[in-house]
C-alpha cells in the first residue's frame, strides 16, 4: 500500500441516488474502512446507459463527456454497480472512437474505474469486513458485473467474512433476472416471466435474504418477490458488508421492519 491514501471518487449512480441513498453511504464506509480518501463529485448524474442502449448514441456521448470532466484527477472511480461500471469500463471509450483526444481521456478513466466489491478485494486487498448478519442469504450474479467485469468470486469472498451469515448458492445464479434496463417496461410480459423464474430459484434456496450488486436487478427481483407475497428480504450487498442492515429496511419493505436482526 502507498503511504498516502488513494483518492477515490464515488460514482453514486442514478438508481442509488434516487432510490437507495444508503447504498452510497455504505460504499463510502467500506471504502474508508479500506483506507481510501473518498470524494463525491457534484457534477455527476448518470453513466448514459439508458440512452446508449436505446440507440441514442449522441446523448450517451454527451453524458459521458460530462463524466470525463467530473471524474478527472482521481486515483480511482468506484461504482456500486456492475452495470454502470461495465458501461464506463467497457463501452464508454468506444463512444469516442472517432475523437482520439477524448478517446485517450476516456481510456484513462475506464482503466481507473472499478465496481465497488471487486475494487475492495482486487485493488485494496480487502479480505474481510467487520459486519454481522444473522441469516441465510443467496446471491444473484448480475449480468454486466459477471460477464463484462468478471465479478464472481469477490462478493462471495467478502460475504464469507460476515459474522453469522450463511450463503446458499442460487441455481441459475448466472441467468439474467429479466431487468435489462428499459427492457423491463418495453417487454413487461417477457421480463415478468423471467423474473418469476428467478424468484422460483430464490425460493428453492430457502434463503431469507437475496443479495446482488446492482440496484436495477434488485428492484426488479424485490418487486416480483413482494408481488408474490414472499417474505424474502432483498438488499444491495454493500448494505450487508457495511453492517448497515439494522438501520435500513430491505428493498420494498416498510420502515420499522429493519430492526429484526
Amino acid at each position: 500500500m502507498p503511504n498516502t491514501k488513494p483518492r477515490v471518487a464515488l460514482f453514486v449512480t442514478c438508481l442509488v441516488d434516487l432510490h437507495r441513498p444508503s447504498v452510497g453511504f455504505a460504499a463510502i464506509k467500506l471504502l474508508e474502512q479500506a483506507g481510501c480518501h473518498v470524494e463525491v463529485p457534484r457534477a455527476q448524474t448518470c453513466c448514459g446507459q439508458p440512452a446508449y442502449n436505446s440507440g441514442d448514441r449522441a446523448t450517451a456521448r454527451e453524458l459521458c463527456r460530462g463524466l470525463l470532466d467530473a471524474f478527472g484527477g482521481y486515483d480511482y472511480v468506484v461504482v456500486p454497480s456492475g452495470s454502470c461500471g461495465g458501461m464506463l469500463r467497457e463501452h464508454m471509450p468506444h463512444l469516442f472512437d472517432d475523437d482520439p483526444n477524448t478517446r485517450a481521456r476516456a481510456d484513462a478513466l475506464a482503466a481507473r474505474t472499478y465496481e465497488l466489491v471487486s475494487f475492495l478485494t482486487d485493488v485494496m486487498g480487502v479480505k474481510s469486513v467487520d459486519a454481522s448478519y444473522q441469516g441465510t442469504v443467496t446471491y444473484h450474479d448480475s449480468c454486466a458485473g459477471l460477464r463484462e467485469l468478471g465479478i464472481k468470486a469477490q462478493p462471495r469472498a467478502l460475504l464469507a467474512s460476515v459474522e453469522g451469515l450463511t450463503l446458499t448458492e442460487l441455481a441459475d445464479a448466472e441467468v439474467c433476472c429479466g431487468f435489462g434496463g428499459t427492457f423491463c417496461v418495453k417487454y413487461p410480459e417477457i421480463s415478468v416471466r423471467m423474473v418469476s423464474d428467478k424468484t422460483k430459484s430464490i425460493a428453492a434456496t430457502g434463503a431469507d435474504t437475496l443479495l446482488a450488486g446492482d440496484m436495477g436487478c434488485l428492484l426488479n427481483m424485490a418487486g416480483r418477490l413482494k408481488r408474490e407475497g414472499s417474505s424474502v428480504k432483498t438488499r444491495h450487498i454493500a448494505e450487508v458488508l457495511a453492517g448497515m442492515t439494522g438501520e435500513l429496511p430491505a428493498i420494498g419493505e416498510a420502515r420499522g421492519s429493519e430492526g429484526r436482526r
Binding site: P21, S22, Q44, P50, A51, G55, T59, D197, G223, G252
Partner: protein
Amino acid sequence: MQVNSPNFKANVTHALADARLQKALDFTRPSFAGRRSAAVANLPEFEQLRDIGRDIKNHTLANLDFYLETWAANVERAGGQVHWCSTADEARAAVLKICLDAGARTVTKGKSMISEELGINEHLEKHGIAPVETDLGEYILQIRNEGPSHIIAPAFHLNREDWEESFRKVHTDLPADRVFHERRDILTEARTRLREKFLAADVGITGANFLIAETGSSVIVTNEGNGDLTQTLPKVHIALASIEKVVPTLEDATSLLRLLARSATGQDFSVYTTFSTGGRRPGDLDGPEEYHVVLIDNGRSNMLGTEFQEMLRCIRCAACMNHCPVYFTVGGHSYGWVYPGPMGSVLTPSLIGIDQAGHLPNASTFCGKCESVCPVKIPLPKLMRHWREREFERHLSPQGMRSNLAIWAWFAKRPQLYRLATFLAASLLGWLGRKTGRLASLPFAEGWTEGRDLPTPEGDTFFARYAKAQREGKI
C-alpha cells in the same frame, strides 16, 4: 417464409399462454446448456479454438471474392455446377430449373435454413413438384404446415401426442390400434415412411455448413443420416449455400468443426460430417450423377463493410438461442421469421429490414450470455445495439420511448436541475410508499407494476443527504 416479426408482442402473449410450448421449453432448456458445458469442459483448448474460429472466418470474409472464385473453379473442375444467385428469386428459379431439367416429380430435402429463407418448398409445389422434408423435425413441421422454431432442433416445441396426431392425419392407412406410446414407435413410423421417399426421389436438396475453396467441396453435418441419403440416392444433388459459408482449406473447416457440434448439441462431433465434391465418378456404384451448388447472396453482401459484417461469421450452431433466457421464455416462433434467438435478432433485420424486424434487437436484456458462448465470438449484444442506433437515427423507435428519453436526457445533462427533479421524485414516491415500502400500481408505470410491485425510494436522494451531512460536519 411469411414474415410475422412485426407482431412480436402478440406472438409473445400467445406463446406465454401456450402451456404445451412452455412445458417443452422448460424441459429442453437445461439439457441444451448442460450438454454444451460438458463438451466444452472435455476440451481444454476450446477457448483458444474460439479465437481461431473467429480469425478463420474474418480472414475468409476479408478475401471472400477470392475464395468464392477459387471454390467455384474447383467445383467445376470436379464436374459440378455453380449457380450464382444474387436474390431469392434467382435462387428459387435456379432450383426449379434444375428440378425441371431432371424431370423431377418428388424431391427429398435435408434440413436447410436457407431453404426456409428462400421459400423453396412453396416454389416447387407451385410448379407441381413435391418436396419432402426428411429431417424428422422438419418432416413433422411440413405435415403441420409450421415453420421451424429452432435452427437445429426445429420441432422441439412438439410433444408425442402432437407427433401421433399429425401422423394419423396424413398416414391415413395407419391402423387405429397402432400404438405410439414410445418415442421409438414414432421414430420407426417416420423412418419407414421416409425410406420410401428417399428411394423414389428424383432430386435431393441439402444445405451446406461449409464450402471449401481448396477442394470445391460442400459439407453437411447431421446426426440422422437423412442429409446423406438425400444427397446420395437421387440422380441429382443440389446444395444450397450462402456466400459466407466458404472457408479456405480442409484444415480451416476442421477447426470450425471442432467448435460446431460441441456448441450445438454438446457432441464432440456429429454422427455424419460429409464432404461432397462433384457428381458420380467412373466406376462408382452409387452417388448422384449431377452435383449443383446454388450459391446465394440474398442481402449478405450488404452486410460486408458494415458493423454487421461480424454476423457473417455465424456457423449456425444455435448456442446463442440455447442459452438465451428470452428465447426460452417466448420460443422460436415469436420471432416471426426463419432465424430466432440472438443470432436471428441481428441477422433478420439485415435480411428483411429493420422496419419489419424492429422488435427483435430490442427484445434483449443484453445479458451477454449469447456472446459468451458464441463459437466464433460474434458480439451479438453490440450488434443488436447497432440496430437500435439505426432505428433511432431513422426515427423508427416508438415515439413514447423517444420523448421519455429526451426529457430524461435534458435533466441528466444539467446536474443542478437533475438534483432538484430527482429530489422531488424521491420525496413523492417515498411519501406514497411510506406505509408499505412499495406500490402495487402507479400511473404511467403499468409496464412495471403489471407483474411487480414498485419498491419505493427511501425518500431523499443521496446528494441531498450527503449535502446535509456535509453541512452538519458529519462527513
